[in-house]
Subunit: 259 residues, 2 copies
């Protein structure tokens, strides 16, 4: 069987421990091209670079493995990767392993998942992997077996058209991971606490802080899963239509008549 | 009846013609606070500023009207707006009028819609308005009546929890707009064409180009609507779960057993 071509990206920079772990797990599974952000680019969502400033720079190359950095966002990495750098589309895009959970509504802000969703829009299978720890030196070794197993399953059988995977891992605890749960995205939100301060030029600036609040205690959610030591796997799409309200909005079709 | 507090934002800068039009339409409907991006910030998606560099600067103030600029993204404008600047949450967030369509999968890249989705996550009603023309001097006058009517309807009766509106307008043609259609988001994608060039420092750079391809000829879509001279109105949410595949993914729960 022909080796799959796997494109790897993420937003924690080329030297992030999570990215290096993901590279080491993917190389036995296929030919690998890495295009990572130069800098840490957290919370860039689906942002893309529209100014003519994008650069893709080679880092290393050997048989079956090439590594590049891109000065844009994770979505820029993916777009420039297969629409410019590579002469064919990859068979799979994997993103991560992110330092920090992308469960619940964190997926909305996530560059890790945006890269995968971008590939999904182009009909390419994609998986985002994230660990529920922001620590730069977090331990990723307990993820080797599940990441390999999930990726092999996707390579072997593919994903439905228009669907990618948002996979989040609990952080290592005393007990081993209890298994994988297919979940829905939990309802949650960030409550910000901006801190005012004066920068070195005397400007009043704001520093974003805050806390994540989960408003959803459903045991079928990703947030519940990772907080109960399960791996969460959310089949994810990019259709934002609130389908259940389509037939409840007809009053808006009538407002033009009563102007 | 108490006047509603309306927060207005967008990503085309404080002087954009579409933003100024929206301000003029909202001021008769409530007390208005504008927080706009300083610069044109197209395609910033749900990006937020996590570095301590955010600034909010007052531009003008009069009874019932305050105007600020923020050096971040549209989502920063909304977050800093009601979580820092204002002493209470607004009753409504409106974003736009964007110079360029946010129909179909353009919603994924859109800062205009991300601002509205951010408010929606916090339980605040929101509407994004976009015109199917990128021209800086586009004519917005044919939108006065429908924007006022849609906004009044939302102020009067609210939106379902977790739902905001993505409203796209056809560009002025020979015939008048045919009406408003409640739609689903069309399936589409951008096919990029990156252009290589050498910048003034001798660096090889990429300039993003490309064309939007709609793969969906459904007459129930937003893309169809604006291309047939209707206003499209998509009830939009932020749950990316592909619900119809939740019960078709159980094979992934079993991969851990066969390691």
């Amino acid at each position: 069987m022909k080796k799959p071509l796997i494109l790897i990206t993420n937003d924690d920079s080329i030297n992030a421990k999570g990215l290096r772990k993901l590279i080491s797990l993917m190389r036995p599974l296929g030919d690998v091209v890495v295009i990572s952000t130069v800098d840490v680019m957290s919370a860039k969502g689906h942002s893309i670079t529209t100014t003519p400033t994008l650069k893709v720079t080679p880092v290393q190359e050997m048989p079956g493995y090439r590594e590049f950095v891109c000065n844009g966002t994770p979505v820029d990495c993916v777009k420039a990767g297969y629409q410019w750098l590579l002469d064919k589309a990859p068979d799979l895009v994997v993103s991560g392993i992110n330092h920090g959970s992308n469960a619940s509504t964190n997926v909305i802000y996530s560059g890790t998942m945006a890269a995968v969703i971008e590939a999904c829009m182009d009909g390419i299978d994609g998986i985002g992997f994230s660990l529920d720890s922001y620590a730069a030196d977090a331990d990723f070794d307990h993820l080797d077996a599940p990441i390999t197993a999930i990726t092999k399953e996707v390579i072997a059988h593919g994903l439905p058209k228009g669907v990618c995977l948002n996979v989040n891992f609990p952080y290592r605890r005393e007990e081993p991971i209890r298994g994988i749960r297919v979940c829905r995205q939990a309802q949650g939100r960030w409550v910000e606490a901006y801190n005012d301060f004066v920068d070195e030029h005397g400007n009043n600036c704001l520093k974003l802080g805050g806390a994540f609040i989960c408003d959803d205690d459903g045991e079928d959610t990703d947030y519940w899963a990772i907080n109960h030591n399960y791996i969460s796997l959310v089949p994810t799409h990019y259709d934002l239509t609130a389908m259940q309200y389509l037939d409840k909005m007809s009053r808006f079709e009538k407002v033009m008549n009563v102007l």
